[in-house]
């Protein structure tokens, strides 16, 4: 495949980019759902993110890409290493794994390696997509068309961060911590509420409605398709700058403080909107902290809260799911009430 379309070359769609970057800075935010019109570059943005992210260190030879610096999260194979041996490290790109429609369960969770079993009579585990996505992103295009039994599987693994395989006489567990990124078109059907809730941030994407933006989108896309290399080169410095800012933000993230006043405001905001459970509050604060880290400020402030609140809360309003179109408006109204108009 040719070089993917650069992230920084995506025209508009600021909220989608903001949410994806926040999830890249702090994976614990818990995934991004991108729902909206056809042909708005949802898939493009996710693939672009893969190319944008700085490479990470992984234990050499580990099939799950364990982090050498985090022994607590190691897989069984890494744990089983004799103590004292030095661990070889390699630089790998952050995995952004596609979960294609039509995938079968054995390839998603992993299964008995048929080749080795048939040819050599060896009982070996062949990891699936969830193993590949460990420490990275798992992308489901058309998430609303995914088969229910796969959705159930994903929900379970995404919640626990661990994939437990019990099949064909195999008993394997391995870490599977990934950021779930889903996209879809509401015209094709709604997403199950349980899955909806599992996403930290939710973004509505709309086709741009002003002509200059539309022209710019078509022009860039056209230039890219005619000569991907030259186009990617044109945005190399922008990409590098963005990449540096992600690295810097990740480093800065632990130092960002969340003042009590901000916490209280977040709680009040969620209460006034009637969001279900604590997840909304938690996500809001975490995402705002990621933005603060990116902005390079020492403490989370209103600015970050205001920017990310719609994405963090719009899919959690106690509803009337019919009122989806209005949920953004409701969040914004509450924001104006609490933070004063922008």
């Amino acid at each position: 495949m040719a070089a993917p379309y650069p992230f920084s070359a995506i025209v508009g769609q600021d909220e989608m980019k903001l949410a994806l970057l926040a999830a890249a800075i702090d994976p614990s935010i818990g995934g991004v759902l991108v729902f909206g019109d056809r042909g708005t570059g949802k898939s493009t943005a996710v693939r672009a993110l893969a190319a944008l992210l700085p490479p990470m260190d992984a234990v050499a030879g580990c099939r799950y890409g364990c982090d050498p610096a985090a022994p607590d999260a190691w897989c069984e194979e890494c744990r089983a290493r004799p103590r004292g041996t030095t661990i070889k490290t390699r630089r790998v790109p952050v995995p952004v794994v596609d979960l294609p429609l039509g995938a079968t369960e054995d390839r998603v969770v992993g299964a008995l390696d048929l080749e080795r079993a048939l040819a050599h009579g060896v009982k070996a585990f062949e990891p699936g997509l969830l193993a590949r996505a460990n420490r990275g992103f798992l992308y489901i295009d058309e998430a609303n068309l995914l088969e229910d039994h796969l959705v159930d599987l994903l929900l379970d693994v995404a919640a626990s961060g661990e994939n437990v395989v019990e099949r064909e006489g195999l008993s394997v567990r391995h870490p599977a911590r990934f950021v779930l990124v889903g996209s879809g078109n509401p015209e094709e059907g709604e997403l199950r509420p349980q899955l909806l809730d599992r996403f930290g941030l939710s973004v509505d994407v709309r086709t741009p409605t002003d002509l200059p933006t539309r022209i710019e989108v078509v022009r860039r896309r056209d230039t890219y398709e005619r000569d991907p290399k030259a186009f990617v080169a044109r945005f190399r410095t922008d990409e590098a700058r963005l990449r540096r800012s992600i690295v810097a933000a990740r480093a800065h993230l632990p130092d960002v403080t969340v003042p009590d006043a901000v916490l209280e405001r977040a709680a009040k905001l969620c209460m006034s909107l009637g969001t279900d459970g604590l997840r909304g509050e938690l996500t809001l604060v975490r995402a705002a902290r990621a933005l603060a880290a990116q902005d390079g400020v020492a403490a989370v402030g209103d600015a970050q809260m205001k920017r990310i609140a719609p994405a963090a809360l719009r899919h959690r309003l106690r509803r009337n799911p019919l009122d989806d179109a209005g949920s953004t408006v409701r969040v914004e109204r509450a924001l104006a009430e609490f933070f004063g108009s922008a």
């Binding site: 056809r38 042909g39 088969e147 409605t209 022209i215 799911p321 019919l322």
Partner: protein, 586 residues
Amino acid sequence: MTPGPAAPSAPTVWRDAAHAAALLAVDPHGLGGAWLRAPAGDVRERWLAALRRLLPEGTPWRRVPLGIPDARLLGGMDLAATLASGRPVAQQGLLADADNGVVLLPMAERLAPGTAARLAAVLDRGEVVLARDGFAFDAPARVAAIVLDEGADDDERPPAALVDRVAFCVDLTALSLRDVGGEEITPSAARVAQARALLPDVRAPGDIVDALCAAAWALGIVSLRVPAHALRAARAAAALAGRRDVAQEDAALAARLVLAPRATRIPASEDGADADESPPESSAEATDSPPHDDPAGADRIPDELVLAAVHALLPPQVLALARDAARWRRRSASGGRAGHAQASALRGRPVGVARGEPGRGTRLAVVETLRAAAPWQRLRDGGRGRVQVRKDDFRIARFRQHTTTTTVFVVDASGSSAAHRLAEAKGAVELLLAECYVRRDRVALIAFRGTGSELVLPPTRSLARAKRGLAGLPGGGGTPLAAGLDAARALADALARRGESPTIVLLTDGRANVARDGAHSRERAAADAQAAARAIRAAGVAAIVIDTSPQPQPQARDLAAAMDARYLPLPHADAAMLSRALALAS
């Protein structure tokens, strides 16, 4: 509005269709393909033959049968080879086989959304991403899709996800063989081959790009894929004419072939009379300001020429096409087939496997069977040669037959109801929709008023759509209760035939005053309504009647009895109470 626009003449239609075939042959994958609306027959075959003739010798040309399983469409395990060689052998699917070629999708109007989504992903990426049966690989599949649409009426349209990804929309419905014979208008295959070679060098000046975008926007086309396709079509047209720069006429041809059939409104500069032409309906566009009012865009677009060309080319066709497109849009907004229940117990969602022998009513899970057999191969024959499968190894696939429940709301929107209860009924339906949403049920909405009934919302799972349909529901007029009930029964029948379980929820005050034949007669209207209600009972459809009159009425109660339905009198009930009552009843 003044008399309908004259339909374009048959020779024009055929010439345009031939142009589209030629452009598609120049850049098949780039243009995505074509949406070909025509009944199966000689005219359609003639067009397909013209396209095929223009493609290079040996270009793959594959038909995708309607119910194709993933293993054949995307790829999977090659069972014969696996058993013969004793090691897993992958088999690529039809889409990968058709790499650099064309796939035909017959009866695309009946294509399942899931299959459409798989095809759409492949069209986008130019490759098949496979993760099935123990295999994971990417296979190139740069295909063009010919979406063959035999839909007889506007209720049957191919999935929007596919239609959005193909450049051309060719409608041959009105043509007869007489219209397409004789003169050869397509360029020669050699010309097309030259154009294909020239294509990478063709440049499109910026103002052409701007103009095509502006024209698309002026025609009310929302998707950005459409102007992008138009641009590619213009480039192919230039290549075909031997030009290295896209000229005005190439852009005009592209606008005519790609943009015009998808128009949803007419550029206002020329026909102020058409100001009431309905704007695109989806909520996304509801807030759009008309693009030509956009001052920011106006001063930077040097597009008068192309827009003028579009105008000059379009008016006779575009009115017809635009209206058609708008109808289609409404229909596409229904996505009806989303929940087709499977007809056989062998189908449905796979929910895993179980040990057991294939036979009556079960199907062998091949890969799982091999997995079960795999560990024992050494013991059985020393691991050489053929795979030994024993009875114990058999695994059968288990499917969950998901019977979809579809709630058919039949809403009395007549004057008598509308005055005081329609808003309330709407509210109740919204609340019930919310419950259906949680249960993953589908809903449909039929409204009756005046002299007939209307299927406002074909069965769908999309609430956004349901809400839109409901909000736009007008009230007033007579009460053709029988017509509403007949429509509900017909829909329920159709759903039942597809293996779904329909429930009818009728909201009315029961006071029919329009008979089946449209006559305004209370007695006959009531008799017809009774007959229609009994027909529902005979069909065995579960039903609920919600009496929306201020005081409980005997008419509605009688109707419920005739339908063998639950009767819920709800004087002064608010929407929440209605909803609770229904939850208890069903």
